[in-house]
Subunit: 388 residues, 2 copies
């Protein structure tokens, strides 16, 4: 059989910067990065897409951005900063996707240019997708503005939008060229969003790093109280663990079935969808962590003390550990647990779910016992009653 074999590697590299007051003229973090990408022969364009929720709390931001980039040589800021709504809804908004593609066309944004998304995870997912498919990939910069996007989604390599209600049905793997985490932007977060973002740190600690889990226990009260230096340390450590997994586990673009970072997520995705996103992603993940941790205990994989530590930490962080949709409804299987079957189908017939062998050690299974799962839900319900 005659054939030609093609084989090549593509290298991806980017830095995630941690800073404060990123658009203060004296803060050179972005300016220095751009300077490293300048080219004396051409002026590169910058197109900014800004989360309206962020702008509301930082009304001076547009002016700050304009002033900041005027001082950066070799780059031309497109004067029209595009402001879009924030939140999951933007990922369901197909006309908005095309509006952003049109802006890229209209402003002549090419592969030398940079699209800069400023906002929460949903806005960054949308902007990243627009950049990834326009001209087969325009460079994009992320400036995440929530705990969740600064420690998890914003530092990773995925983007996407929903299609006909299916989360992230359309998307790509396309690493950003840089990420800038500005702690100052977190100061105006709704307390619910502040706390919800912590659940991804609990998740990554549980599957990867027992000492980080202990650190979270020690610092739970400070985190809930809004202590910024503690939150900055959390974000740094969580982002580092998340990135180490993507870069180090050998499958950054998920060509295989393994998804250890999705611990607690199978039920979370379903809960978000069934509650029409009235649950924050981080809150749904917290519930998912509780259920899968209790399930790991009932399976005999972790001991009661470990389970108690996990649930206690979530409760201390004022994160939810239970939702009524987890119960059987009218004698029928819980709609969330029914989602497990959909998930199995989605994965092509073989389930891959992360559970816990210990605090700090995730392990995958390919089957879940539905009775045991319903028992785990009952335990979470009990904990929930005790906690409230």
């Amino acid at each position: 059989m005659e054939y030609i074999e093609q084989s090549f590697e593509v290298k991806f590299a980017y830095k995630v910067f941690f800073t404060n007051h990123i658009f203060d003229p004296s803060n050179l973090t972005i300016a220095a990065f751009l300077d490293s990408r300048a080219d004396k022969d051409i002026t590169k364009k910058l197109l900014i897409i800004l989360d309206g929720g962020v702008l509301k709390h930082h009304p001076q931001l547009e002016q700050q951005i304009t002033t900041y980039f005027q001082a950066v040589k070799g780059f031309q800021l497109i004067p029209e900063i595009i402001v879009i709504a924030g939140g999951e809804a933007v990922k369901n908004d197909e006309p908005l996707f095309y509006k952003l593609v049109d802006a890229i066309d209209h402003h002549g944004i090419d592969r030398h240019s940079f699209v800069i998304g400023i906002g929460g995870g949903s806005v960054l997912d949308l902007v990243g997708y627009v950049a990834a498919v326009s001209h087969r990939g325009i460079k994009h910069i992320r400036i995440p503005t929530t705990v969740l996007s600064q420690n998890d989604s914003g530092v990773g390599v995925k983007n996407g939008i929903n299609y006909k209600g299916k989360k992230n049905f359309l998307g790509t793997f396309a690493p950003p060229v840089a990420v800038f985490n500005d702690a100052e932007l977190l100061t105006t977060l709704d307390p619910r969003d502040w706390r919800a973002g912590i659940s991804e740190a609990v998740k990554v600690a549980l599957i990867k790093d027992a000492s980080f889990f202990s650190w979270l226990e020690t610092n739970a009260a400070a985190l809930v109280a809004g202590n910024m230096p503690v939150m900055q340390e959390l974000i740094y450590r969580c982002a580092a663990l998340h990135m180490a997994h993507i870069g180090g586990a050998g499958d950054p673009f998920e060509s295989g079935s393994s998804r250890p970072l999705d611990f607690g997520h199978w039920s979370a995705h379903k809960l978000e969808q069934l509650t029409h996103f009235s649950l924050r992603h981080g809150e749904a993940v917290s519930i998912g962590i509780a259920v899968d941790s209790v399930y790991s205990y009932l399976l005999g994989w972790i001991d009661e003390a470990a389970m108690t530590r996990i649930v206690t930490l979530l409760v201390q962080l004022q994160l939810p550990i239970y939702h009524p949709l987890l119960e059987m409804q009218d004698g029928k299987i819980s709609p969330v647990i029914a989602g497990l079957e959909e998930f199995r189908e989605h994965l092509g017939g073989r389930l891959t779910i992360s559970l816990l062998r210990a605090i700090g050690k995730g392990e995958e299974v390919h089957e879940m016992d539905l009775d045991l799962l319903q028992q785990a839900v009952a335990t979470c319900a009990q904990w929930n009653t005790t906690a409230s």
Copy 2:
């Protein structure tokens, strides 16, 4: 400045197979490939999207496909083979894009599954894009059915659709998992399509391989006469040169500005657009090769003998070397040459155009002299008059 650095490499590998009668039950090329991708635990799905133009000439194809895959264990063919129109128009058809995405959703095609596109370059571009963005990337297999797609676009790593008339405005770099070139499928090609596909071979010979160019001169008459073994050798050598460039030049996903494989293409893209695709891509490329070769001569980069050899070969291959749209229109600059300015803007202010230093050796420039270009056009017009 505090930062975390992310760095990883993603490996891509695929084979391009050369065969005959690919869906004959005794031809095990596809079956053996799929067998290498089988998994005893799950049945993987196959979704086929077929170019209606191919089906017209091979009406037995649907039945052959169905019979063929029934014999392949571990895979389930989605019974509904999706037949779409062929040609550039499919890349302008946004509802068709969503129809294919819907089919992926409806049939539960996941990342274990394979989407198989069978058709000319336009159909493969569309199918590749649909696969690339659905579920952040479903594995796709290409079965190109034209000379052009078997020797050039189909063996590469790009996909895309047009947006508001802009060619390939939306797309990604997403290598296929396998390509199957079936010579039998070329036997029913329109002679115009048969010949047009040869121009990409002339192009790659000119920039990469002088001996291949000599081979083309030797075999021009046989190619025009429809000699299949000669055409198969052409396709193999052209595909090999094309793939060697993608895999070997260090920038398979075109993060830089260099586009040596685009020799002759700046004017070709504009000619296609201005003629509303009544010119085939390969015909437009032939004209583009002629113009940029003559320009290379006028620049003093190649001698008259080389220029004469190039134009003579194109004429012998019955490929066009001139189009009236290259002339000034009503005293104004040619709309094709005006496209050079658009192209410069598209590239962010710095033009990158491949020219010839010799037969077999391309070299890039960042400026083109418009007067000299108009002179090159006049020379092509003269050659054209002489030839016809």
